[in-house]
Amino acid sequence: MIPNAFAFERVNTVEAALDRLGADGEAKLLAGGHSLLPLMKMRLSSPSKLIDISGIDALRGVRREEGRIIIGALTPHREVAVHPLVQAHLPALAQAAAQIGDLQVRNRGTLGGNLAHADPSSDLPAVALAYDAELTVVTAEGSELLPVDGFFLAPLTTAMPEGGILTQVSFVIPPEGAHSVYEKYSHPASGYAVVGVAAVVALTSGRVSHIRVGITGAGDAAYRATAVEEALLDQVWSRERVQAASRHADENGGIGEDLFASEAYRRHLCQVYTRRALERLG
């Protein structure tokens, strides 16, 4: 488990990081390292250089701006999980972040690193979808705002432009009175999500006025279960409707299979865990 030789440089500004990335096409950014280093140790990834951005303090922290919570890309999972703003306004994010790996991983691994890595079994993509996140990516040409819908394309593949750095993620605070939750079925070996469902629901006079369902783990990339959302939006909330709507949970994503769970079982889990998530919100 020894990686190929690589160069290492620590940078203190986003500009310096962009500069180094531009200078070496084979270089990679190092934040918490919890996704990249295992790949390097298995020699599945052999970057020429690691640009350590973990010391860029500007990319760390949680703040509120109007109807949004904005989290710096280098904020570690642990800080996300316990932050009062996150717990108050984005409880599903707090729950998901608290379930990543173990305490050591949560202290090192970062929100931005997790989303940019786009592991299809990672927890946070589901939550980012459920809170209509926007991701700020900086390139040499400037800064771009990418909506989370369409960000996760395939395993380890995102819509991020080449040479870009994810600097912050902005989550929309759900409407007043909304509830949100993250329900996860953990793989017994890795602890990653076999299926993870993030759901946000607001009711107005007993009818669903706002709903988001984000699902991760089930396939190639996290997705919004829009079929579930559509089946419930503007409807009177009832146990039966939730059950019926949850049956559409596997319709919007490419459902995959592996040694642990077949496609059929994963589809079933999507439905069950979506139902369970929603039942906790009504």
Binding site: A5, A189, L259, Y265
Partner: protein
């Protein structure tokens, strides 16, 4: 100090281990040391057409590169050291590095030695091997079929051995009222000790000696075998294994790797270190279990069990590892009738070569396989005749007055009170109340189940005469030396080689109890062939029954000699001296006394010793036990199955074990906890999977699920203590009971929960999808 035995003294080894002060093999740093890395085959089966090592050899920092051809005639073949009699066993050639053929993914192809471990690793990528890939076979039943790829020319049909034993005839089954038949797959497991394997070798040019530090459960066996491989006299070789981070059987075997490291150190005259990485551990360290079994259990409608017959096909992997053939034969076949009065038993075992990592002992070694099939069959039999499974067990348990009990395979069980353990466990579980609640919950669509296992285990391996009779190519006695220093402090030298079992504590307790001195005054030395005369190591729950037996006798010899000296000092006859709480005193005259320390000092000063008594104070024993010892007990698991997803939740786990006399209840409980966790791991999560090309699909912790603490409820443990008559301490074994009992307990609990669905079998591990599918099938079939 009296009564140190039985005290829950904290493990003395823990402070150093949990503060990072342990001395594991990889901690050894020597001047001028170089580092080895091993190139392993990426193919399960291939002809090695050509190896080009030139680029690696000329890479800066590389010291040497060796291939199999370089070692031919210089390094011996790896032997198999357990040859079950009458089994037509084929010990095919197993070179340390493949010469012209690789037979599993992980088979060694070349050894690189370099200035640091990074260079060594990089150089592996610079070795160019031309492989001609051959068809592979990973499944042992398929490997026996005609036309299957053949691993070794001298083992036709890939059969390594065929072993049969028992008295169960066709006629017994033909006349039985009820016969239950069943197929079971005991899946393959990966032992995964916390510390992967490692070796450091240092050649001493001054005298031609070689020291090898390695991760061994039995350093004397390593020395014994490696002296042959290296062509090095045993007295020139020292093997050291002080701190070893768990083995679970996987560090019994003598591997190619440590032989290669020793060879390179001698050849280069420089210290060489090699440390396996986790990926290598998955591929190149022995695996466990992997049987296909067909079982028949015969009996009467009233629940009297009469006969059991098993055909097992065991996957041995690509080569026969050191102790491997003994596992699916002797350690498995002789105990298939378990704790029950089943008069007829028969076992028919094939050991088969496949293109997979070799298998060998894994915690429990053979006995979990036997216990699992038996306990599953007993539950199926109970279901067949409509009897409560606990009542069926109770009806057939060997009763207290039947000991010593001779089982149909000729084993003599030493002592037991099986129903006492059963009653205690059922009482704690409140079995009757559970059954009532189970019915109530079913009405609400909730599925809870209970599993009850009554087991017996062969442990305390074992008398040497039996070792010889069953083909083990070594002795199974044990040595101990108690050296009392002039100040009365004591060093104990044991031939067992604890690597997590806590004998540094329990062995000190044995001596402290006998000599009446504080535990702190006693050091327990193990795992060093230069310091310990001889020993056969730690496995098969033998350390305390056999090693502790040796230690008891050695300590008695110290007391015997000290008593002579004390009598002389106190000027009374030896028969008039009493030794109590660390003090020798004249009978009837408590003022005439001498402490153990005073007597010891006199033994060393030797100014005034009785006639015929030599100076100094030591006791040595080479102890061969009278027979195996047989731990037993009852385990109970309560589970709930998620009706939507098939997930299994372990609600309660109750373990009542009888390991004979308990020396340290805290350590015993720790052993039970660890054993249960590993056994439940097999039941619910663990399983090594190969694809058809022979690639290990579960080759990392991302895919191979080790049990985690939060998967478990508080484990409720109790001990009953039925002493063994076979050793001076009355002890049995406790290291493997949990692994042996817990797997069937949990599986039976899940299947009990699923009774409404008519489910009789789910293949281990009981992954949620398998459970869910079994329920789906049950629902569809009404």
């Amino acid at each position: 100090m009296v009564g140190v035995i039985g005290q829950a003294i904290k493990r003395r080894e823990d402070p150093r281990l949990i503060t990072g002060q342990g001395q594991f093999t990889d901690d050894i740093q020597l001047p001028g040391m170089v580092y080895a890395a091993i190139l392993r085959s990426p193919h399960a089966h291939a002809r090695v057409a050509h190896i080009n090592v030139e680029e690696a050899r000329s890479h800066p920092g590389v010291v040497a590169v060796y291939t199999g051809k370089d070692l031919e005639g210089k390094l011996g073949l790896l032997p198999t050291a357990w040859l079950p009699p009458n089994s037509d066993i084929k010990t095919t050639a197993h070179p340390a590095l493949a010469v012209d053929r690789v037979r599993y993914v992980g088979d060694g192809v070349a050894l690189v030695v370099a200035k640091d471990r990074y260079i060594a690793r990089d150089a592996l990528d610079l070795i160019h091997v031309t492989y001609e890939v051959l068809p592979a076979v990973v499944n042992q039943e398929r490997a026996m079929e005609p036309g299957a790829p053949l691993l070794h020319e001298d083992a036709p049909d890939n059969v390594a051995f065929h072993w049969q034993v028992g008295n169960a005839t066709d006629e017994v089954f033909a006349r039985a009222e009820v016969v239950v038949r069943h197929h079971i797959h005991q899946q393959r497991l990966i032992p995964n000790p916390m510390e992967p394997r490692a070796a450091v070798a240092q050649f001493h040019p001054s005298n031609g000696d070689l020291t090898l530090w390695c991760t061994s459960q039995n350093p004397h066996i390593h020395r014994f075998i490696l002296s042959g491989l290296l062509g090095m006299p045993e007295h020139k070789l020292r093997v050291v294994a002080t701190d070893v981070g768990g083995g679970f059987g996987s560090k019994i075997a003598v591997y190619a790797d440590e032989a290669l490291v020793a060879y390179a150190a001698r050849d280069l005259k420089r210290p060489v270190k090699w440390s396996e990485d986790r990926r290598e551990n998955f591929l190149a360290t022995t695996h466990g279990r992997d049987h296909y079994q067909f079982i028949e259990l015969a009996g009467k409608r009233d629940g009297t069990l009469e006969a059991i017959r098993v055909r097992a096909v065991a996957n041995m992997g690509a080569y026969l590892s050191t102790a491997a053939p003994g596992v699916p034969t002797i350690l498995f076949g002789l105990i298939v009738s378990g704790p029950y009065t089943i008069p007829y038993a028969g076992v028919d075992v094939y050991g088969v070569f496949t293109n997979t990592t070799p298998t060998d002992a894994y915690r429990g070694a053979g006995r979990p396989e036997a216990t699992y099939l038996l306990e599953r069959m007993v539950d199926l039999f109970a279901r067949e005749i409509g009897m409560d499974p606990v009542e069926l067990r109770r009806k057939n348990l060997i009763s207290q007055d039947q000991f010593p009990y001779h089982n149909p395979m000729g084993l003599e069980y030493d002592s037991g009170n099986y129903t006492r353990a059963l009653d205690l466990a059922l009482d704690k579980a409140d079995y009757a109340a559970f059954r009532t609640r189970q019915q109530e919950l079913r009405a609400h669509g909730r599925y809870v189940g209970i599993g009850v296992t009554t087991y017996v285990e062969i442990c305390g391996l074992g008398p040497s005469q039996i070792a010889g009779a069953v083909g083990f190519q070594g002795g199974l006695w044990e040595s101990a030396m108690v050296r009392v220093h002039p100040t009365g402090k004591v060093t104990v030298f044991t031939g067992t080689s604890p690597h997590g079992q806590g004998e540094e504590t329990t062995f000190a307790q044995i001596v402290a109890d006998k000599l009446g001195i504080p535990v702190e005054d006693i050091e327990v030395v193990h795992g060093d062939t230069a310091r310990i005369a001889m020993g056969w190591g730690t496995y098969g729950s033998r350390s305390t029954p056999v090693g502790g037996g040796a230690l008891t006798i050695a300590t008695d010899r110290v007391i015997e000699k000290a008593k002579k000296i004390a009598a002389h000092i106190l000027e009374v006859g030896e028969e008039d001296v009493e030794f109590n709480e660390g003090s020798f005193q004249a009978k009837g005259d408590p003022k005439r006394r001498a402490s153990f320390q005073e007597v010891t000092l006199q033994a060393y000063l030797a100014w005034n010793l009785p006639q015929g008594v030599e100076p100094a104070l030591e006791g040595t024993a080479f102890y061969d036990p009278a027979n195996f010892v047989y731990s037993f007990g009852t385990h109970v698991a309560m589970v709930e199955v998620d009706a939507d997803t098939g997930e299994v939740k372990l609600d309660r786990y109750i373990a009542v074990d009888d390991p004979g006399r308990v020396l340290n209840p805290m350590i015993a409980e720790g052993q039970v906890h660890g054993g249960i966790v590993q056994g439940v791991g097999q039941a619910l999560w663990e399983g090594a999977v190969y694809d058809n090309q022979g690639q290990l699909v579960t080759g990392t912790f991302m895919d191979y699920a080790m049990p985690k603490a939060h998967f478990f409820p508080e484990i409720e443990t109790r001990f009953t203590e039925t002493p063994s008559p076979h050793n001076p301490l009355g002890v049995k074994g406790i290291g493997e009971t949990g692994t042996i009992a817990s797997t069937p307990t949990v599986v039976n609990a899940v299947l009990d929960a699923l009774q409404p669905f008519g489910v009789k079998e789910i293949e281990m591990p009981l992954l949620p999808e398998r459970v869910w599918r079994a329920m789906q099938n049950g629902r569809e079939n009404g």
